[in-house]
């Protein structure tokens, strides 16, 4: 009985950690611009696919990972520079639509540059499952969880303790005021796109051994990551992680104890309920829009 419970928990943690890691990228760009970047899932895909293809070309895995993350960051910078920045003072909705367009372009390009097949990477530290209280968890899941925690800590420190982090927050709260106190808001936006692209790429590399990857994998991961970020409260890195884990665990327990047919439905019902009663998410700051 306990073994069963633990296994559902581990199953939830595995998918939850993936959702959390993807959700973090949404939080970062939202913090800087209030834009929901629907190309975030594509960054995850680019990270995984580039690593697969670089290592297949003979590049050692650690170098391939670094190159893939750097390349994806460049794509993120290019997206901001070539599309988002060109619109000048377009509304947030316009920017969101641009990111949807960008996601379609990136997906199409990946299909041509890479291929249409599924690929995978070897697990970082082997596939031997670890037994805990009658349940098993794979070492790769621990990698995902560990890196997620590390990234959250770094982001908390970055936003609260560094000048750049505070500049990003300031830009998010009031772009005009931020400009007036001398913050280069364009640069802030550029950096946040680059950072979240890199973050997405790291997520892509970490989860590829578990889920495998292909050019379309970003759609569903993006959707789940977005749900995680919404549930936890947009803009809060801690919230995105909590939202992702809750989502994963609800899905796993739902599949295990009720029925796997309704697994996705249950996750989305939880999100609906959460947003109904707490419109700004579980850990989001209460909106105080003045009318």
């Amino acid at each position: 009985m306990l073994g069963e419970f633990m296994q559902y928990l581990f199953s939830g943690l595995t998918s939850g950690a993936i959702y959390a890691l993807v959700g973090l990228g949404f939080a970062l760009i939202y913090n800087a611009s209030h834009v929901i970047n629907f190309a975030q899932g594509e960054f995850v895909m680019l990270g995984g696919m580039s690593t697969v293809f670089l290592s297949a070309a003979g590049v050692p895995l650690p170098v391939a990972v670094l190159l893939a993350v750097a390349a994806t960051a460049v794509v993120g910078l290019a997206l901001e520079k070539l599309a988002v920045e060109q619109t000048k003072n377009a509304s947030v909705v316009t920017l969101i639509i641009i990111t949807i367009g960008a996601s379609i372009v990136i997906r199409g390009a990946a299909q041509v540059i890479f291929d249409k097949q599924f690929h995978t990477l070897p697990a970082f530290t082997g596939d031997a499952p670890i037994n805990v209280l009658g349940a098993t968890i794979t070492p790769q899941t621990l990698w995902v969880l560990g890196v997620t925690v590390a990234i959250v800590l770094v982001l908390q420190w970055f936003f609260n303790r560094t000048l750049w982090g505070k500049a990003i927050l300031a830009t998010s709260v009031n772009p005009l005021a931020a400009k007036l106190v001398g913050i280069n808001t364009n640069l802030v936006l550029l950096i946040s796109f680059g950072l979240s692209a890199a973050l997405g790429a790291i997520a892509g590399v970490l989860i590829t051994p578990i889920t495998s990857t292909n050019f379309e994998v970003g759609i569903m991961l993006g959707l789940k990551g977005f749900s995680a970020a919404i549930l936890g409260g947009l803009g809060s890195p801690f919230g995105a992680v909590a939202g992702g884990l809750i989502l994963g665990i609800v899905e796993a327990f739902g599949a295990g104890y009720i029925s796997s047919e309704y697994k996705d439905a249950m996750a989305f019902v939880i999100i609906l309920l959460a947003l109904f009663f707490m419109p700004s998410g579980l850990f989001g700051k209460r909106g105080t829009d003045r009318v």
Binding site: Y8, S11, S15, D127, T136, A255, G256
Partner: protein, 390 residues
């Protein structure tokens, strides 16, 4: 004056054109008017991994047949449209093939959705049609003008259950993808399980893009009496199921479907794939077939021809379905001695013992699929490669 002159010139020009136009086809017809083979395939879009090898196969074999003098002394001409996997486009293109291109026969229809959507058009136009899609509904109930080459999901289920029965397995669990392929096969397997005395104790599902299936498998693991587990699915889902299966250290044998019968599955699942059993077309293990196997020469020849042109490891059963379709229809034309649609259809229905990449085909008025369970071979994954189960 100038107007009349122009009009006269136009008339003269038109008359001259008319003469040449009338003269040209007449001359060509005596030489050899091409036989038009229409096709509509999903060369782009989500089903492109099916449609792409199908088109390449048709082009390759039509070229080689033409080099050998064509069929009935006439060259073959392929008229192709790319549907992108969209049944609506398939309908538009088939109308165009019938009305504008006036093709003699139609082969194609990569996905079941496309094939089912165009079947009424074929019946109305009385056009011989061979589909390359999987669904059983294409030939059940039998429609006069519609045939198909690929085996059905039901046959895969039966092949698996036959193997289970031979192992003395009677109680199984199923974990199926909720995508079209998984859901269809799940229903088919449940339908025929009783025939083989097999009882399904647990019936779980997962989304095609899910990242972890340990919850469903834990439920199966804790179901008493499960002797084997069957996973109908497609894409990366079955690879994750297989990895999770080993992670949970479930002792019962794992059966996969023909949906993952490609080298890619072994790559994705890695060591976890060891010992997995699945049904697959003979093409997959062409060289491994015993020399006594009557299908061996056909599948080896197709594999070598395709890989010779498109690179090692590029061959797929999907291209094989197109090969079979082309061979069946041209064979019917030869036996009919004409391209008259009714005569070709009748000859096609009388096809007996045609040995193709999908198996031995014998059509009849009641059977427009014509394959038996021998079309599938049971394989086991050993040392990262396929091994035939005798």
């Amino acid at each position: 004056m100038s107007v009349r002159l122009t009009r006269r010139m136009v008339l003269a020009a038109a008359a001259a054109f008319g003469l040449t136009a009338a003269a040209l086809p007449g001359g060509a017809a005596t030489a050899a008017e091409p036989i038009k083979i229409g096709t509509f395939l999903a060369v782009t879009g989500p089903a492109s991994f099916l449609g792409d090898p199908e088109l390449k196969t048709l082009q390759m074999y039509i070229d080689s047949m033409n080099a050998e003098g064509g069929v009935l002394g006439r060259p073959l001409e392929l008229v192709h449209y790319d549907t992108g996997g969209d049944p609506n486009k398939a309908v538009t293109f088939v109308k165009r093939l019938i009305d504008q291109d006036e093709v003699d026969v139609i082969i194609g229809g990569t996905s079941s959705g496309e094939s089912l959507a165009v079947m009424p058009l074929m019946e109305r136009a009385e056009m011989p049609f061979i589909s390359f899609a999987g669904s059983k509904k294409i030939v059940d109930p039998v429609q006069k003008w519609v045939f198909k080459t690929p085996h059905t999901d039901t046959m895969a289920c039966e092949k698996i259950f036959e193997d289970m029965k031979a192992q003395g397995t009677t109680k199984i669990a199923m974990i199926s993808g909720t995508d079209g392929f998984g859901a269809s096969m799940q229903a088919e397997c449940k339908g025929v399980a009783g025939k083989y005395g097999i009882e399904i104790l647990a019936d779980e599902t997962y989304g095609p893009k899910d990242t972890d299936m340990t919850a469903q498998l834990t439920k199966i693991k804790n179901t008493d009496g499960v002797q084997a587990v069957l996973n109908p699915g497609f894409g990366q889902g079955p690879a994750i199921v297989t990895k999770n299966y080993r992670q949970l250290q479930i002792a019962a044998p794992l059966y996969q479907s023909h949906g993952v019968a490609s080298k890619q599955f072994i790559e994705l699942a890695g060591d976890a794939a060891e010992g997995v059993r699945l049904p697959a077309a003979a093409l997959l293990v062409a060289e491994k077939l015993p020399d006594s196997d009557p299908q061996k020469p056909v599948v080896v020849a197709y594999k070598q021809a395709y890989e010779g042109k498109h690179g090692a490891g590029s061959v797929s059963t999907f291209g094989g379905h197109a090969y079979d379709g082309l061979m069946l229809i041209t064979d019917a034309m030869k036996r009919a001695g004409s391209t008259d649609k009714a005569a070709v259809r009748d000859a096609l229905e009388q096809t007996k013992g045609y040995m193709g990449t999908g198996g031995e085909v014998t059509f009849s008025a009641a059977d427009h699929l014509g394959l038996t369970l021998d079309a599938f071979r049971m394989l086991e994954i050993k040392n990262g490669d396929w091994a035939l189960i005798q």
